[in-house]
């Protein structure tokens, strides 16, 4: 099975809403020698991008998108044993939190997983983490990077409040703060205006930029 075949068959499976078929495609690809990173960057990420494009083209509904997201989350989760196996976790620490509700957190989690593959130690807190809890954790664990995501504009004030709270709590010693998500896609200057250090469009770019900025 080639990577292209895997991506097409996976997309078809999630559009069909069949998690069993989707898992089967992933297993088959994995056993055919397609690595985790390729699965993430060559199957899951493009499939989800296609889902967004199909919604844009009015070919699918939000319900289809939900289903595809849910299946992909589960497909990724099935690979976690493989992902964390043998990881030394000695690399730079990244703490990630999602300013949205849960159905938008997939992109950020994908970035965390890809960084984990590259030797980072990542803590993915998901959605609905109170700001003060996040700040306390950052103060305690002193990560190199805090990554925040928001997919819709109404959640941007929350991103800004979180950034301000971290910078206030650790003056002069705050970690690198990265932001991303659909809410930042159409406004290149938004991340900087919110007080973030950097933003990225996808997992590959995020990994590259963070590697450039964080030297351990």
């Amino acid at each position: 099975m080639t990577l292209d075949e895997a991506r097409e068959r996976y997309l078809a499976a999630v559009l069909e809403g069949s998690r069993r078929t989707a898992f089967g495609v992933v297993d088959e690809a994995f056993h055919a020698g397609i690595g985790l990173r390729e699965l993430y960057l060559g199957v899951f990420q493009p499939a989800m991008r296609d889902i967004g494009r199909l919604w844009q083209e009015n070919r699918i509904t939000v319900a289809d998108e939900h289903l595809a997201t849910a299946i992909t989350q589960a497909a990724m989760a099935r690979l976690y044993d493989e992902l964390f196996r043998g990881g030394g976790a000695a690399g730079p620490l990244l703490i990630a939190a999602c300013a949205d509700t849960e159905r938008h957190e997939l992109g950020l989690r994908m970035i965390c997983d890809v960084l984990e593959m590259e030797g980072w130690d990542t803590v993915f807190l998901g959605a609905t983490v109170p700001v003060e809890d996040l700040v306390a954790m950052v103060r305690e664990r002193r990560p190199h990077v805090v990554a925040l995501s928001a997919s819709i504009a109404p959640h941007l004030p929350r991103v800004r409040a979180t950034i301000d709270a971290i910078r206030e709590a650790m003056p002069g010693a705050a970690p690198l703060i990265a932001v991303g998500g659909r809410a930042f896609a159409d406004d290149p200057g938004l991340a900087e205006r919110l007080g973030a250090d950097l933003t990225a469009a996808d997992a590959v770019q995020a990994a590259r930029l963070l590697k450039e900025r964080v030297s351990v």
Partner: protein, 456 residues
């Protein structure tokens, strides 16, 4: 909320449970049934509909508006269009059926209403799904961490086991060494016990010996008193006989009495010597010290023995006169010198005898008596100072053999020791013998005790 857009709408649309909007071809809201305004808490009438849409939905709206009026449905597209509507702090999807009016001037958007609890259900399901995925992620990560910790633990355990084995080896080695040490200690104890036993034995023997010595000394002094009286009586009567107090003696009688007298004198010397010896052994030899001119004392003794020397046909003189004065007991010194000179004459067989007085390194006296006699074999030199030893002589005549008691040298040495000095002999067979007496300038305080050895 704008009510200006509602009056034109038929009542049925105003009562419709969803948003109903009429847009012009540019996307301006011409009419609304008011539903959207209530939901978004903002007015939409007279504004571009795009102002309440997110950017992606704006592009979708553009796509709808760009379609030719009356154009057929895209069979691949879903019939309703989903647009994300931005409220004050929300962004929620709503589905609309796009319907163009007959003139193609107005686009009616009729919402396809759904039970809002479906949205809640979606959110809830998404939350469950995400939570599960996140939990799985954390679990997998924790599992990996635990696996690493376990591997580390196993490695440590293995290392500990290895160390333990090494320690055990060392322990066994130490145990063996310990056993060895214990064995050695036991051996030492055994040796110590043996030494103690030997020591006790020696002490016992020393005590027994002391008792025996004391008994002997007591015996000597008792016997001396008992012996002296009859000997003096014999000698007295002999003198009277020789003085012919009891009538004249025939030549034979006179010879017999003289022999008897000689024997008696010898016996008395013997008794005197034994008395001296016992006194020395008992520590009763009290010293009467005074300043003594050693050379003068030796000359005096030479004079005394001149007749004996003449009788033996031996030349006897003092050489290298050097005035040496020491504080000592002159009676004891005389006794020693007399013993040495008479021995030299007795054993020298007529060979010349020299006495030499010199000053010792400590300022004391060195007195040497040398004879040119046959000398004493090396094996005999060591025992001539023992009691009752008389060396055999080649011309072992009767008189020579019985002359002397065999105590003289022993007594002389004991006296020398009592005076704090030494008496040694050196001899070369065929050349002669030298007896050397040394005395300190003055006797040490402890001198005079019988078994006291001289300081070397």
């Amino acid at each position: 909320m704008t009510s200006a857009t509602t009056p034109g709408l038929p009542p049925v649309l105003r009562a419709f449970p969803g948003a109903v909007l009429a847009l012009d071809r540019a996307g301006m809201v011409l009419e609304s049934n008011g539903y959207l305004e209530r939901a978004l808490e903002r007015g939409v009438g007279g504004q571009p509909f795009a102002t309440v849409l997110d950017p992606a939905s704006r592009r979708k709206l553009d796509a709808i508006l760009a379609r030719e009026p009356r154009a057929g449905q895209d069979p691949a597209a879903v019939p309703a269009w989903e647009l994300m509507l931005a409220g004050r702090d929300t962004l929620e999807p709503r589905s609309f059926y796009p319907v163009w009016d007959d003139g193609g001037d107005r686009l009616w958007l009729v919402e396809c209403p759904r039970d809002p609890r479906f949205d809640a259900l979606y959110e809830e399901l998404a939350a469950v799904n995400s939570e599960q995925a996140n939990t799985q992620r954390q679990l997998a990560k924790e599992k990996a961490r635990l696996a690493r910790a376990l591997a580390e633990l196993e490695r440590e355990l293995t290392e500990n086991e290895r160390l333990s084995r090494a320690l055990q080896g060392q322990n066994e080695e130490m145990e063996a060494q310990n056993q060895e040490l214990l064995a050695m200690t036991e051996e030492l104890h055994a040796g110590q016990d043996q030494l103690l036993a030997t020591n006790q034995q020696l002490e016992r023997r020393t005590r027994e010996l002391q008792i025996a010595l004391n008994a002997r000394s007591r015996f000597y002094s008792a016997m001396n008193h008992e012996l002296r009286t009859p000997i003096n009586a014999v000698m007295g009567y002999n003198d009277l006989l020789l003085a012919e107090v009891y009538g004249s003696l025939s030549e034979q009688q006179e010879l017999a009495v003289e022999r008897s007298q000689r024997a008696a004198r010898h016996l008395r010397e013997l008794v005197d010597d034994v008395l001296d010896l016992s006194r020395l052994e008992l520590g009763k030899a009290e010293l009467a010290t005074q300043d003594v001119d050693a050379a003068a004392l030796v000359d005096d003794m030479l004079d005394t023995l001149r007749p004996v020397a003449a009788q033996a046909g031996a030349e006897m003189r003092r050489v290298d006169g050097e005035p040496v004065r020491v504080v000592t007991d002159p009676r004891r010194l005389r006794q020693i010198v007399l013993n040495l000179l008479s021995n030299a004459l007795k054993y020298g067989q007529g060979a010349p005898v020299w006495a030499r007085v010199a000053r010792g390194a400590d300022g004391g006296l060195v007195l040497e008596v040398t004879d040119g006699g046959p000398g004493i074999p090396q094996e005999d030199l060591g025992r001539i100072f023992d009691e009752f030893v008389q060396l055999a002589r080649e011309d072992n005549t009767e008189s020579a053999g019985r002359d002397g008691t065999g105590l003289g040298l022993s007594i002389a040495r004991r006296m020398a020791h009592a005076l704090g000095g030494t008496l040694e002999a050196a001899s070369t067979v065929g050349v002669g013998s030298t007896f050397r007496l040394t005395l300190p300038p003055a006797p040490p305080l402890a001198a005079g005790r019988p078994n006291d050895h001289p300081r070397s």
